[in-house]
């Protein structure tokens, strides 16, 4: 099969590493390859690089450098927060509040904690994927030790009222963690102003490398370690530092936060064109997520009567890379828990398509999608026993 175009519209799954980021990483592989724990010059050079990256991450979040801890990614950061805070604060209580639409890194860790005797409240969301602050307040008990609510959802892009949540948590003296893996680079973050106590991020979501992330932990937060061993990261996270990854993460977050306004402006314009075009050209289509309070790069649709995987495969053959919350793509039996949580039926959730824009996309990419997608949907619908009934009924 000859493929002329490759249009990547799956930036929420992962992004390519920017050239400028890679260039800072390269000498760290082959020249400044020392172990930051070593006493000699190779080690000191490496340590300087790690310190510089830590400062860059801190600056991007409005945190102090000593509040930043590097991890192997967003998943490890999420696991660390939940277990670390739960185990360290057992004496204060055993209740955790989160939402029904968190990433599995949070949800599966919560389920594990439930098995160990912790109580977890999974806040519901409305049809836009928003939690209710009233629900949150009502769910707080004297036993509540942690509120963990994602900044922005990875599937439908809905952005939660983080500042308000932070205020409520601070008033009640409960730790507040936010999984900001999808938010960094798309949303302006200030952990102090927003009363965030802990925040997870992952390099490969904002044009940095894969396999590196960070956890911001406000000074004074009681949290146990997750990964035990050597004294790296000031005794909080063991394992030889991934120095090239850390350097890349530092550069990537600097670029992402410096350029956030122009980045967002460009993405919002493309997204509007995409959403308007799809909604206009394809009937029986629904936009998932909040119409305004959503990530600037996220478009998520449900096309009734068709199924996500066959849609993705067809798009792929036309060179377009997207994703779907369909059960058929996930290898699990149910479609995405996020789509179910916003109230979609299994059948509708089945036909979801997520297109997430990035810095490398152009207006022409959108034109091409708007040319190709309606045809594909039409073709799949013509094969669908469900669509037949609708047409018949018309």
């Amino acid at each position: 099969m000859k493929m002329n175009k490759r249009i990547y519209l799956d930036h929420s799954a992962t992004t390519g590493t920017k050239q400028e980021v890679l260039e800072e990483m390269l000498p760290v592989f082959t020249t400044n390859y020392g172990n930051p724990s070593s006493v000699h010059s190779f080690g000191r050079d490496a340590k300087k690089l790690v310190d510089q990256a830590r400062m860059r991450v801190a600056k991007a979040l409005g945190a102090l450098p000593e509040e930043i801890f590097f991890t192997a990614g967003g998943t490890e950061a999420d696991n660390w927060v939940l277990k670390g805070v739960a185990y360290a604060n057992k004496n204060k209580g055993n209740h955790i509040i989160t939402t029904a639409i968190e990433h599995h890194a949070v949800l599966h860790t919560c389920e594990q904690l439930e098995k160990e005797g912790y109580k977890v409240t999974y806040l519901p969301v409305d049809s836009y994927g928003m939690i209710s602050l009233e629900d949150l307040k009502a769910s707080i008990t004297d036993e509540t030790i942690l509120i963990s609510i994602m900044y922005a959802n990875n599937e439908i892009g809905t952005v939660q009222p983080i500042e308000e949540i932070g205020k409520i948590a601070r008033e009640r003296k409960i730790y507040f963690h936010t999984d900001a893996v999808q938010a960094v680079g798309n949303v302006k973050i200030d952990v102090k102003a927003q009363n965030i106590d802990m925040l997870s991020l992952s390099g490969h979501k904002f044009y940095g490398p894969k396999g590196i992330g960070a956890l911001y932990i406000r000074k004074g937060t009681k949290i146990l370690n997750l990964i035990l061993g050597g004294g790296q990261e000031r005794g909080r996270r063991a394992g030889t530092e991934n120095v090239p990854g850390i350097v890349g993460l530092g550069k990537a977050i600097e670029l992402a936060t410096e350029n956030i306004d122009s980045h967002n402006e460009k993405l919002l314009k493309m997204r509007k064109k995409l959403i308007d075009g799809v909604m206009e050209k394809i009937p029986y289509t629904r936009l998932n997520g909040h119409p305004e309070k959503r990530l600037p790069n996220n478009a998520n649709f449900c096309f009734q009567y068709i199924e996500g995987e066959s849609l993705l495969l067809n798009l792929d053959m036309k060179g377009i890379a997207g994703s779907s919350g369909s059960a058929c793509t996930s290898g699990s039996l149910d479609p995405s828990h996020v789509l179910l949580a916003i109230g979609l039926s299994h059948e509708i959730a089945h036909g979801s398509l997520r297109l997430t824009l990035g810095d490398d996309n152009t207006e022409e990419d959108i034109d091409y999608v708007l040319e190709v997608l309606p045809e594909i949907v039409q073709r799949l619908r013509s094969m669908s026993p469900l669509y037949e009934k609708v047409k018949g009924g018309k």
Binding site: N314, C328, T329
Partner: protein, 123 residues
């Protein structure tokens, strides 16, 4: 992920559509992933003269529907009843393990359509 054969039947599915006044119609749903397959049969003297399908499902579901219709076309209903999901998978040069259940859908849809024909004709 998918074999060339699967992709071939997925991109150019054979026998898509409906048959007006079909002699047998089978519609089955896949309890596992919520997908639906519908098969239409035109039968004369217990021989399947024509067959069409419609499917709401993944790439594997579409490909299995397509090849299953090819495999039963021109066969007697007794022969068609012998069709197994294993034979369908083999004919497609295999399916990923998490997609085997999609082939079960094809087997069930064929059987349901023949049952429907038998019932209508009191056989």
């Amino acid at each position: 992920m998918y074999s060339e054969k699967v992709m071939d039947h997925f991109t150019a599915p054979r026998n898509v559509g409906e048959i007006d006044n079909a002699d047998g119609i089978g519609e089955v749903g896949n309890a596992k992933c919520g997908d639906i397959m519908k098969i239409y049969l035109k039968i004369e003297d217990d021989v399947i003269e024509d067959v069409k399908f419609k499917t709401f499902g993944c790439g594997a579901a579409i490909a299995t529907s397509s090849i299953a219709t090819e495999m039963i076309k021109g066969k007697t209903i007794d022969e068609a009843l012998q069709l197994t999901n294993k034979a369908v998978v083999e004919a497609l040069d295999g399916l990923p393990p998490q997609k085997i259940h999609c082939s079960v859908l094809a087997e069930e849809a064929v059987k349901a359509a023949i049952e429907d024909y038998k019932k209508k004709n009191n056989k």
